[in-house]
Symmetry: C2
DNA sequence: CTGAAAGCGCTAACAG
DNA sequence: CTGTTAGCGCTTTCAG
């Protein structure tokens, strides 16, 4: 279909390898002939076939990111950071949506390895069996996990400081005088969310306050909505809720709206993530900010470094978080 | 690094091509030997190198989507639909964020063609020069544009029915008794938005109502915010506004909030897109629903079809929209 | 049904 | 500095 290196070599009257060298900008080629070759290439609109190059170099200039769902604004931010870093390094980024489904994850990894991607950023590996993890590790492809998977220290990891964040959320609510709390979180296999939950509960204990009511469900808008509906139906004593991510918080806000519960007058709510829309919800959401874009960007940069270095040790990076106060929490100490 | 077809051929005591045939499930190989080969392959954990295969077949099992920014929830939905369709067809999807920047777009297309992707879904081609468009068309790679670019009918297109949507918005507002309208829209080069605007204005004319005040700006939250601020400062006679997309509508809501204008009591507002968060704004936004996921899915399916058929005609697909009534519009007929 | 051989488009020693 | 020669791992004629 296209025009090949052979064509331009013939046209330029030089050998194939000379043409190759000229184009790849390697040393050891006369500036004159090099310019000549380059000119021909440009004129003929030559587009080097990266597939062929990949076959011989063993590198595909492609990175992959496996997230549960790109529609989750958190992952969209991460993916954007990742893609920007990949673009800067002249790599493509393939996007995979696993829905946290084991079978899909396995199929993705298989396809990715078959295509010899240069690195994989994925948001969990806990769904894989031990054998599958071994195989992935043995493949030699650099892998970075977006959240710590306690079971396997052999992959590199990067994550926001969930423990600090959960603590921050608890302390904030406590400082506003809240004592009876409700907590919405995701499936227990979800490491990130679980860390937030743990830290939150621990901070409450440390403050000698009663254990919050913990509800688990899907970590989505709908999940948050349903959990909140359920909670409101049976228990109205809580004065505040901590949702382990913003989208669950939005679901909760929605449920509150429908149940005639005013926020923050009747109920305070704090989220986690600080996704963009949290500024424009009603009310604007108080939340824990997590540097999503930077997470994705840093992850790909780590991957790039691992790709270059033949030998590398798993690296573990934690990125700081901070409280962002908006209007969804009320001070009830005066009440 | 990996184990190759040669290895499994040797191990199975057959020829390379027999091994290949067994694995690719082609006819003309004895079931017995075939099972044998398959067994060996499984035992040795053979993973066929798709790069090598791609080199000979000329197909990469990879699709690409170029959006302006994946963080825009609209594109996240489209990308998810696209990825699901690609996954179903055993293809990977590479994600590109162009920021609508010409240079980036060109670089992406170049890289994508160099990797011999099987198809490209992109949200505009108007940023490219005529020559660049020619080159893209000449490359033979199937391309689908996410919005109609009037300048080039030679690429396939897919889009929501913006005309119908603009009409729907006007009719809805009219049916509620609104006569003096404000309209917020994006840059005039933006085909999608412009179609909505045109249809909206036309419907007003058809109803013999005064021309709405049209304001153009950035089609973002901030753009909507600034346009609304400007409009509120000089003119308060409008009873309703139609924003050409939801994020502009949110900006408008925000501006109204700050200006002490209550929605929908003082001002009705209707958006376009029905992005997920429009359910949870305050008030929940009445808007025109556009099937984003289906758009992405259908686009990739079209691409797939084009890939198979050697010969194909540019196809133009329009997908229906519908009105979603929520709480941001008030009936003022009784007033 | 199976083997031999050519080649996809490119890079990378190795000589000269 | 440039040409020759091997492949990278796989598919695909073409013979047998």
């Amino acid at each position: 279909m296209g025009i090949t290196l052979k064509d331009i070599a013939r046209e330029a009257g030089v050998n194939l390898s000379t043409a190759s060298r000229s184009l790849s900008g390697a040393y050891g080629v006369h500036p004159h002939t090099r310019e000549h070759v380059l000119g021909i290439a440009r004129r003929l609109n030559y587009r080097p076939n990266r597939v062929a190059r990949g076959l011989v170099t063993g590198r595909s200039q492609t990175m992959a990111v496996i997230v549960s769902d790109i529609r989750n604004p958190f992952f969209a931010e991460v993916a954007r950071g990742a893609e920007d870093a990949a673009y800067a390094a002249d790599c493509d980024l393939v996007l995979c949506n696993s829905d946290l489904d084991t079978e899909k994850q396995v199929r993705y990894i298989d396809a990715l390895l078959a295509k010899r991607v240069d690195g994989i950023l994925m948001n969990s590996v806990s769904a894989l069996t031990r054998a599958q993890q071994d195989q992935l590790a043995a493949s030699g492809v650099p892998v970075i996990l977006l959240n710590r998977s306690p079971t396997c220290k052999r992959f590199s990891t990067i994550l926001a400081d969930n423990t600090e964040g959960g603590t921050l959320a608890a302390k904030h609510l406590i400082s506003l005088g809240h004592k009876r709390l409700l907590h919405l979180t995701g499936p227990s296999q979800h490491g990130n969310l679980t860390d937030r939950t743990k830290a939150f509960l621990k901070a409450m204990q440390n403050a000698s306050l009663p254990d919050p009511v913990v509800i688990r469900g899907q970590h989505t808008f709908l999940g948050g909505y349903e959990m909140a509906k359920r909670a409101f139906a049976k228990n109205r004593s809580a004065t505040a809720v901590f949702a382990a991510n913003d989208v669950m918080a939005f679901g909760c806000i929605r449920a509150a709206l429908e149940s005639g519960i005013r926020i923050p007058d009747d109920l305070s709510i704090i989220g986690f993530d600080n996704i963009e829309v949290s500024q424009i919800t009603c009310p604007p959401l108080t939340t824990i900010h997590q540097p999503k874009y930077e997470l994705g960007k840093a992850a790909i940069e780590m991957l790039l470094k691992m790709t270059i270095a033949e030998e590398y040790q798993p690296e573990h990076r934690v990125i700081g978080v901070r409280l962002v106060e908006r209007q969804s929490c009320r001070d009830i100490r005066s009440a």
